[in-house]
């Protein structure tokens, strides 16, 4: 990790100095423990502010859409996939980017730590596969493995898929296995059961749209929920039908594009597992069309093109 | 071609073929006389029920 940081700083400094990029988008230390902050660096001197640790789960691709300058960007596996997706979707040009690839060693879910540590956390240090958490009154050491973000556990693309330079050695990806056990569990429910499961899950939603705002795919100038004519959905959180409409429709808009970066769940102040929807669509994309989003910039997204032999049994 | 060519055509019969010829000619710049012995055009096709394979009403 430390090696990453010095390498990131070195590369960043150089490309800023060489004028290859105007800004670097990366992380700097936050004001709280486990709160690495997305930042941009404009001058080579400030490159030393860049850090990288297990709290850099935020998807930096989210900050790219529509930018005009030349950008250096730190990219984990999922970030890079979303960058590829944005290139395909015309939101940024490949020529604009210098991608500093970071093979990802999986990100920490700070909520998990908070649940396991009663005291207010004042310091968190990662040492190898251990995480040392300090509070005002006590200290505890956890296995890193137990604190991971849910999407990182099932991730099969830790290495960046596109990059210009790497900040570390590529790591061995886990064997491709059908990792959609969670989806299968929900699929196995009866439709009534499934409906009540989702209803319960979404009843906590306060309609803040943080999931949407954190998502690098959600770049529409006007989101359908904000549309006034026609007003597709009501605005209050009281109407559960509208709440469901928002979540399900948003998931559909992400079909064939979602990289399961986990930004949505990470941003949700109510800890709603919104990935349950996108994961289902990802698993369908995989199962029926052998498609994973953001692996290439050469192909149009899944739902943009039609092949005669495409799976279409759902058309009744 | 000689100058006394007349730019009009008589179409004998107002069935599907006659109507089609008449329309194509009229649309390409000829004056057409469509002559039909009965009191309306349409011919046999208008008496049919549906046509294969679209099941469109023949009328």
């Amino acid at each position: 990790m430390v090696e990453y940081i010095s390498k990131i700083q070195k590369i960043s400094k150089k490309i800023l100095q060489d004028g290859k990029v105007d800004i670097i988008i990366g992380f700097s230390s936050g004001s709280l423990p486990m709160a690495s902050r997305p930042s941009f660096i404009k001058s080579p001197e400030d490159a030393d502010k860049l850090i990288f640790d297990g709290n850099c789960g935020i998807n930096l691709a989210n900050y790219l859409a529509g930018r005009k300058e030349k950008i250096g960007i730190i990219a984990k596996g999922c970030d890079s996939r979303n960058i590829a997706q944005l290139i395909v979707e015309n939101k940024i040009k490949r020529e604009q980017l210098f991608i500093i690839g970071v093979p990802c060693f999986k990100m920490i879910d700070k909520r998990k730590i908070s649940l396991l540590f009663e005291d207010e956390i004042t310091q968190v240090t990662e040492v190898g596969d251990k995480v040392i958490v300090k509070g005002k009154a006590k200290e505890k050491t956890f296995n890193r493995e137990d604190l991971l973000q849910a999407n990182c556990i099932t991730c099969t693309h830790h290495n960046p898929v596109i990059y210009d330079e790497l900040a570390g050695e590529l790591i061995k990806e886990p064997d491709q296995k059908d990792g959609y056990e969670d989806v299968k569990k929900i699929e196995a429910m009866s439709s009534d059961k499934r409906w009540s499961h989702f209803s319960e899950m979404l009843s906590a939603c306060i309609r803040c749209y943080a999931c949407r705002d954190a998502c690098p795919l959600c770049y529409c100038p006007t989101c359908f929920v904000d549309e006034a004519a026609p007003q597709w959905v009501g605005k209050s959180a009281d109407n559960q039908i509208d709440v469901k409409t928002f979540h399900i429709l948003r998931a559909f808009h992400c079909a064939g594009r979602c990289t399961d970066c986990g930004a949505c769940e990470r941003a949700c102040p109510m800890s709603i597992k919104v990935r349950e929807f996108t994961r289902k669509l990802n698993s369908d994309a995989m199962r029926h069309y052998e498609w994973e989003a953001g692996l290439t910039t050469d192909k149009r997204p899944l739902l943009d093109n039609f092949r005669v032999n495409d799976y279409q049994d759902f058309i009744k | 071609m000689s100058k006394d060519i007349i730019g009009s055509v008589v179409v004998v019969g107002g069935g599907i073929a006659g109507m089609r010829s008449a329309l194509d000619l009229a649309n390409s710049g000829y004056y057409v006389y469509l002559v039909e012995k009965s009191s309306s055009i349409g011919g046999v096709m208008s008496q049919l029920d549906k046509t294969f394979p679209t099941n469109d009403c023949a009328m």
Partner: protein
Amino acid sequence: MFSYTTDTNSEDCNIIKPINKKNVKQAILGIRPCDSASFGIVEKNFDTEEYKDPFWINSYKATTFIGLACDNPDSTCFCTTANSGPFDEKGLDILLITSGDSFIGKILTEKGEEAAKIAGWTTEAPANSVSAIEKQKKEAESKISSSISTDKIKNKDTLELYNASFWEEEAFACINCGTCAYVCPTCWCFDIQDEISDKKGIRMRNWDSCMFPLFTLHGSGHNPRDLKYQRVRQRFMHKLKYYQDKYKSGIQCVGCGRCIRLCPVNIDIRSICDIMNS
């Protein structure tokens, strides 16, 4: 707030009528002093000389606030430099203070007295309570490790602050999720929305936030705060500058620190305040 029907067979078709809300007496138990302190701020928007919001006022009046003093403030709490403190009594009817296995209640208003009577809280506090509480309060206040200073902001030129160059950089990480406004006890902005289901319509008040692009969107399609940094700037300028200028009673913040803890991208009001104040 209001309801109506679109049923053309009804005599009241399309006539908007206020919803008769019975404001049943209620109590909020365990509210933190910083939160209750915020009512004094929010009141400035809903209960003024020129305008009185009956919905807010009626609901507020029907509620008794029984607060719980803070003995263990978080490291992100900065209430003592922001209109409040861990034992602050503003806006409360009763303040409860932990004392071993029980609470000592300090009755602050008539409403509080009535509530205590209904609750059957009649046991007298031990004689030395006053000094003990004072000691406990000092102790709690000394645990507050964060602070902000806003003194210079007051006298700064509004336009200068508005046009300052730091906004874009500070706002960069923001994803406009609005979590800060949703958890803020002093954010009072709302939106009014009609919702119709079948033929029954209601006109209601929703939460809204200056973080959302829709907040200032004009009917014409023009948006004066179209860019992210403009919206972030609005939030902090409103809390720390415009409010001070308009009401001359400090900042629109009670130092609860929630926005700091819950912001997904670590935008920290304390550091923004520092920059603005410097």
